[in-house]
Amino acid sequence: MADVTAPGFVPEARQETLTTADGTPLKVSLRRSQRRQRRRAFYLVAPLLFFLLITFGWPIAQMTFRSIYNPEVANYLPETSAAIANWTADEVPGEEVFAAMARDMQLGLEDRTIGRAAARINREIPGARSLVMGTARDLDEMQAPYREAFLQADEDWADLEFWRLIKRETRILTPAYYLLALDFEYNAEGEIVERPEVYQVYRLLFWRTAWMSLAITGLCIALGYPIAHLLATLPLRTSNLLMILVLLPFWTSLLVRTSAWIVLLQQEGVINDLLVWSNIVDDDGRVRMIYNQIGTIVAMTHILLPFMILPLYSVMKTIPPSYMRAARSLGATQFTAFTKVYMPLTLPGLAAGVLLVFILAIGYYITPALVGGESGIFISNLIAQNMQGTSAQLKLASALATILLVAVLVLYWAFNKLIGVDRLKFG
């Protein structure tokens, strides 16, 4: 440093690496001096980091893994899995596959795992369980060559579809649950096809979740923007009062709020009574406003509104009134001044609010479950339903949840590209 301040110093050496007095490059010594600080910072966040890893990172990793993990056939029919690898899938397999199957059955009978393998196959091909279990029971009386013996015992052993399934399911990792989550499946030939229309539900629900979340976000903007503006411009005492009203939904139990909406919106509810009383609709024409999409949208907009208002408010609070005045004095009408000056300045808050509300909305569960009825439920509700089911349903739930998670991440990424998350102001 000494030579920098010395009178003879000429600032020409800019291009060369700067060094400190003892000759260490400036960057190195800067990094060294910051290392302690960084270590301290790490110790401060370490407990939370650890907590998050255990309660957040690990379960999510588990969930993602489960959604593709498919061990039954490979584990319970190991020899068959090995033998069928070379099978070309256009005719009934040869003796070595049947022999392997017989040995697997033998082992499976001993440690009682054959039932699980049969159940797994049965999920794909109804009736396969009785085929497997029936033959397994009679295995004692059979002897090589097993191909003939099996075919004699049950002609279904000649079913190519059965063998194709076994071959497909020997893979420990499978995309099957993701296909299912997007309303696709493998057909008998092992090709990926759309499921029959009657079974299609998940794509519709993803789609519905997306557009309803968008609608809710839009409503939150429409309702929240003026309020946030008012909050930011009113004198402090009044704005504090208003702020309490805004935060009130936060402080009320979710169930209380939701049942309040039920009281208001149901067909015998307050709003319908008012409509009937004021002769806008007659008594038979009461409007259905709950247990459908309207119910979900209304209740969720109410719940998520503060997440829009708060970031908007915090940004608007920092915009001095002189900007609008400057715009007006330069000849802009109130409207132009708003759209060209005020609005762009609130964008960081608006974007943060949109991101918060939309991401919260697409993962929302309780409110759609309570007031959504049949038509107003979200994908999360199906995930929850599947989580209570069999292990296969659990895997489907995992696949659905992973898709949802990826969708959120993609959204966040796109948002970052578009607006720059570092520019957002969340509060």
């Binding site: 001095p320 002189s322 900007y323 005045r325 400057a326 715009a327 007006r328 004095s329 330069l330 000849g331 802009a332 009408t333 109130q334 132009t336 001044a337 060209k340 000056v341 762009p344 300045l345 964008l347």
Partner: protein, 372 residues
């Protein structure tokens, strides 16, 4: 309530901006502006000068249309503008914090007033380039305001207020955030622009030297009233009341009571400490009136020749401060120890030492008898 020098000044057809009996109250309890009458000529550089809270910004905001008048009328170019919305008044404005739009580049900021007027693209570009050249920032068009220094931002703000060629430009303490040197340079530049473009400028400041150097006329505000409206030299040499004398330049005050008037040009005052002084009556009525005598520090002579000056008091030197071009000497005179004398640092002027006593003399004209 003083209206002298206001009603007569520039009233009539030559007035470009006219405040007529304007009053303003924000809360309905206190008047922030009390009966303002002010006429501004076309092409004039008029400064509103006054301490904080005296109502300068309020006046400007009423003129720009951001505050309503509680009473009275404002005329611009013989047209009453009280009910004209701000964007239709065509008044350029420079704000204290510049209010440059942070999400636009410098060029976009400058183009804004032209765009909202529906001007063509080519003309906008040409005008923006011209105005950038005028404020000597031709290569800064693509920067954001946050990437400019305070002085550069200030120039852009001035450029933006001028780019749509308004006839009237308001500036609310535009140089308040700059350091002394930059401020002086910008004062010069703004003055220069004013002279070149011939726009009418209403300028607000609480820096008296800024007001004196830049303005054609200065309106000294205090307490919602224009205390005096005059050219800078008159303001300095002939303050009409104690507030103006105190606010503009340095000023020695002596308090006393009028003994008698001697004709039109002289009044005899008995100081509270007993001495008798002959002064110029400015703002006193007659005998037994309380008065403040105002005397500029540079008008005091040290040890004048016997009988050469009508007023001579004796003082004891309390403090001597060397300031290069002059020596500032604080003395105890007539019971006050804050009597300042400026002695030029040149041959022929006495030098005083702390603890010495000296005779201090001055003329009748330099000693103005003002209100108490």
């Amino acid at each position: 309530m003083r209206e002298n020098g206001v009603a007569g000044n520039g009233a009539g057809d030559s007035a470009y901006v006219r405040f007529e009996d304007v009053q303003k109250s924000y809360d309905g309890e206190t008047l922030v502006i009390k009966n303002l009458n002010l006429a501004i000529r076309r092409g004039e550089f008029l400064t509103m000068l006054g301490p904080s809270g005296s109502g300068k910004t309020t006046c400007l905001m009423m003129l720009a249309g951001f505050e309503s008048t509680t009473h009275g009328a404002i005329w611009l170019h013989e047209q009453r503008i009280d009910n004209v919305p701000p964007h239709k008044r065509g008044i350029g404005m420079v704000f204290q914090n510049y209010a440059l739009f942070p999400h636009m580049t410098v060029s976009e900021n400058l183009a804004f007033p032209l765009k909202v007027r529906g001007m063509g693209k080519a003309e906008i570009e040409e005008r923006v380039a011209r105005v950038l050249a005028m404020v000597e920032l031709p290569q800064f068009g693509d920067r954001r305001p946050s990437q400019l220094s305070g002085g550069q931002q200030q120039r852009v703000a001035v450029a933006r207020a001028l780019v749509f060629e308004p006839d009237l430009v308001l500036m609310d303490e535009p140089l308040g955030a700059l350091d002394k040197q930059l401020r002086e340079q910008m004062q010069f530049e703004i003055k220069h622009i004013h002279q070149n473009l011939g726009v009418t400028v209403v300028y607000v400041t609480h820096d008296q030297s800024e007001a004196l150097t830049m303005s054609d006329r200065v309106a000294v505000f205090n307490d919602g009233i224009i205390q005096q409206l005059s050219t800078p030299d008159v303001l300095y040499e002939a303050p009409e009341n104690a507030f103006v004398a105190q606010f503009i330049g340095e000023n020695n005050r002596l308090y006393g009571e009028v003994l008698q008037r001697v004709g039109d040009g002289e009044v005899r005052v008995k100081l509270d400490s007993g001495e008798e002084i002959r002064a110029l009556p400015v703002n006193v009525d007659g005998a037994a009136d309380r008065t403040t005598l105002s005397l500029r520090p540079e008008r005091v002579q040290i040890n004048p020749a016997e009988g050469s000056l009508p007023n001579v008091l004796r003082g004891k030197v309390e403090e001597v401060i060397y300031l290069g071009d002059h020596i500032r000497t604080r003395l105890a005179v007539a019971g006050h120890d804050d009597f300042i004398v400026k002695i030029p640092n040149a041959s022929g002027h006495p030098s005083l030492k702390e603890g010495e006593t000296a005779d201090l003399g001055w003329t009748i004209e330099d000693c103005r008898a003002l209100d108490a």
